[in-house]
Symmetry: C3
Subunit: 158 residues, 3 copies
């Protein structure tokens, strides 16, 4: 079976710099005409969360506070400095004319990148469909991810 | 040369959450009928170690204490809290009916996932074949990994 | 379109152990006759920097100091101990006859591995072409990376 012109990126990390890499690669792949999917799981869910507090049980709520989602709350994997790193990186990217994450999200949407949430990690972390941004196409399990990945030319775990 | 229906996952990380992702993807790929290989290297060796103390020389023994293997000793990449994070995640997964790592390991075994250890990192860290669990099929070098990966539909570095 | 006998590794991390994994896999793929590309971005640029201080603006210079490049300055992702981890790992690898990073770099060069720098992250971090080692073949954007990755048998994000 020949592979289709697809790219599948699994975004596991919620670090600002890795989310930026994932968004940039997804945008690039879609711009090159590839049918592109960004499958967000675990910490990577933060990138497609609205940013409201989440969780129903005690631990889910604790997790929701400690690990609050939303693009504006992401911190870089290095030089975090309690939030200062985020401001520094944002300013450096801005100074060089690099699109911020919110713009990349819009571009991905315009280019038809499929945003998917991982059902199992959402269950574990008590994140609901309505906690995710509207651009998310679907919430799926690992079987769907495997099917897409096996049929794609590019698969990356970020 | 056409690619075969194979999936190759290189598990480099020893973080509980990443090991969980690797085990879940490997299980999913095998359940979908793919010939699946999990190649464990560096910190990822912890996931297939028995958990005994390892090392022969001074530094190897130090490493064996600081980086002791075994599924029950893995800590999440975030919110480690000196072991409390492990208990919290395990409880959250358990509450939601998600299989623990030890069950996923059994399932992988039943589905015929090939567990491989990386010879070079085992040499460096002074981990012996008998320090690995019995389910491990073989200890191989990077050449074997490359051969399998080049012949597979899915390759992920976790 | 059939995929060519290519391997593309995106090196995002600047951690010593991950750079070691990337160099080892790239060397292995090239030794197996694959046309191999190592695309270095973000922290991964450190692996192909000369090691001089970089940056032109205030923040770029701060980044240049905090995140100084060069193979000899890389620290492992775990057990860093303010530089002691680097010495420990280097000694352990040396004791076991494993090639140091500088030797792997030479081997990659001899085997024709293409070393590429990511234009966008170099712009953001104010790293110039002349801050990179001479072995680097080109500085390219994400579009080039996508094109190569889509045409390759192995794609890994490290």
């Amino acid at each position: 079976m020949e592979e289709n012109n697809k790219a599948v990126i699994i975004l596991f990390s919620g670090d600002m710099d890795k989310v930026f890499a994932a968004f940039t690669i997804a945008t690039g792949a879609a711009a090159a005409g590839m049918d592109t999917t960004l499958f967000c799981t675990f910490w990577g869910l933060k990138a497609i969360q609205k940013g409201n507090l989440t969780g129903t049980g005690l631990m889910g709520k604790m997790m929701g506070v400690m690990n609050r989602g939303g693009l504006k709350r992401l911190n870089p994997s290095r030089f975090s400095f309690g939030g200062a790193g985020r401001i520094m990186f944002t300013k450096m990217m801005n100074d060089k004319g690099v699109s911020p994450l919110s713009d990349l999200l819009k571009t991905m949407n315009e280019l038809g990148v499929h945003l998917l949430g991982c059902k199992m990690s959402m269950d574990v972390m008590e994140i609901k469909r309505e906690d995710l941004i509207d651009e998310v196409e679907d919430v799926v399990g690992v079987a769907t991810f495997i099917k897409e990945a096996a049929d794609s030319k590019i698969q990356l775990f970020i």
